[in-house]
Amino acid sequence: MGMKADFKLIDDNGLRIDGRLPNQLRPLRMEVGVVQRANGSAFVEWGGNKIIAAVYGPREAYPKHIQDPNRAVIRARYNMAAFSVDERKRPGPDRRSVELSKVISEALTSVVFVERFPRTSIDVYIEVLQADAGTRVAGITAASLALADAGIPMRDIIVGCAAGKVDGVVVLDLNKEEDNYGEADVPMAILPRTGEIALLQMDGNMTYEELTNAMDMAIDAAKEIHELQVKALKEKYRGDEHDY
């Protein structure tokens, strides 16, 4: 947030640099079952983001000291490919990915019936192959699809979505330029059935009004995204060809 742009992010017609309306999502495509070796997997292409998620488990948690006798431990690992960003990223976890892995793990735990699988781990791997802002919400959207694909019992399929503020305007689903030069970003993860909020972060500078407008926008969009999730799951089980 907060670098200064020497160009306008919202034009005179109220349109964004990629031509979208403030409350419009970027193009979004999902596919389920893309990693054969995994118990479940999904691919999400969202704007310029290309993200793949895979689930292994429930399996015996290892190392043993992480086992919880009362529930499964969900370990999400958010990872960016070295070539996913403009300047090559050194492989391995950095502080940002450690934090994102933590909040995503917590959010996913809120919907899985973890108490049914004591002493196990459910490992959720999220690989960002190309990054274009909003990778964490795209990642959690893919991860929950992968959990569904793996047949993990859940009380809802989580949807990730972000909103924010650019050039003083509250907008949905920031792209890379908006993320770099905008004024605020509010990534969320929502349980579409109940509207509960499982992940919520924010950074920037917003009034209470702006912030709640942004959250309203993201919550609305979550329904739309959820429909695409359901469609992707149905497609797999209709046995369609995949072209990923």
Partner: protein, 269 residues
């Protein structure tokens, strides 16, 4: 990945007790839902550092030290100083902390404090340039936990802004002019809430943290702007709860900011 702030199994009876108190509108240490524990701030505790603050939030104790040194700017911001934030969950401060590299808890904590300060533009980074593109001031915010008794987010955030607000840039020692106060222009304050059963309380203590289902930190500044939020733990919030928490954080943050500014100015006089 497995160290936990919450300290394992709290006797079920304690959970029941805390919930029962909550139904009656009170808490295990007698506070109301929006009451923060007593705050004591000692700035200048480490004279050798460029700024420092020892913060006591109830029994939670955090020492924040600021070091300011010359360094190279980032290539994409040649006209700005640099700020870096680090938390040490030293094992001295809790039986559950272990020696070793920063855990995910320490990293999250440091990053949430960092975002509050960075996004509120608390420090005017443009005033920290020594030679554009070549040399700028690097501000190191190091938070050392001395006793962990719940709610490190707020203790660290309070300590960080108090230490920054009283820090001096050591220009003289580095032969680049006269010392000057670190240009702090905003006062972000994080307030953290814990969801316990149906209730949401501010500034959770250790017992409350250990049974909380969800956590929400909201950092607001003196202009009533929201600068950072972070939800944690395995539970969820309703949207309505979130909105109420944000409003409460604006109110409580204001009171806490007054305590901080009072203590800082007390120090200066």
């Amino acid at each position: 990945m497995t160290t936990k702030f919450s300290e394992g199994v709290v006797a079920e009876s304690k959970r029941t007790y805390i919930n029962k108190l909550a139904q009656q509108g009170t808490r295990i240490d007698g506070r109301g839902f929006d009451d923060v524990r007593p705050i004591k701030i000692t700035t200048g505790y480490i004279p050798r550092a460029e700024g420092s603050a020892l913060v006591e939030l109830g029994e939670t104790k955090v020492l924040v030290g600021i070091k300011i040194e010359p360094g190279e700017p980032f290539p994409d911001t040649p006209d700005m100083g640099i700020m870096t934030t680090n938390v040490e969950l030293v094992p001295l401060s809790s039986p559950t902390f272990e020696p070793g590299p920063p855990t995910e808890e320490a990293i999250e904590l440091a990053r949430v404090v960092d975002r509050g300060i960075r996004e509120s533009h608390a420090i005017n980074m443009e005033k920290l340039v020594i030679e554009e593109g070549e040399k700028v001031w690097v501000v190191f915010i190091d938070m050392h936990i001395l006793n962990y008794s719940g709610n490190l987010f707020d203790a660290c955030g309070i300590g960080a802004i108090a230490a920054l607000a009283t820090a001096k840039v050591p220009a003289e020692r580095h032969g680049v002019g006269e010392d000057f106060p670190l240009p702090v222009e905003h006062y972000p304050v994080p307030i953290t809430f814990a969801k316990i059963g149906e209730w949401i309380v501010a500034d959770p203590n250790l017992d409350e943290e250990s049974i909380a289902s969800a956590r929400l930190t909201v950092t607001t500044n003196e202009e009533g702007m929201i600068n950072a939020m972070q939800k944690g733990l395995f539970g969820t919030f309703t949207y309505d709860e979130v909105k109420k928490v944000i409003n409460r954080s604006l109110d409580i943050g204001k009171k806490v900011r007054e305590i901080i500014l009072g203590d800082i100015n007390g120090e200066e006089n």
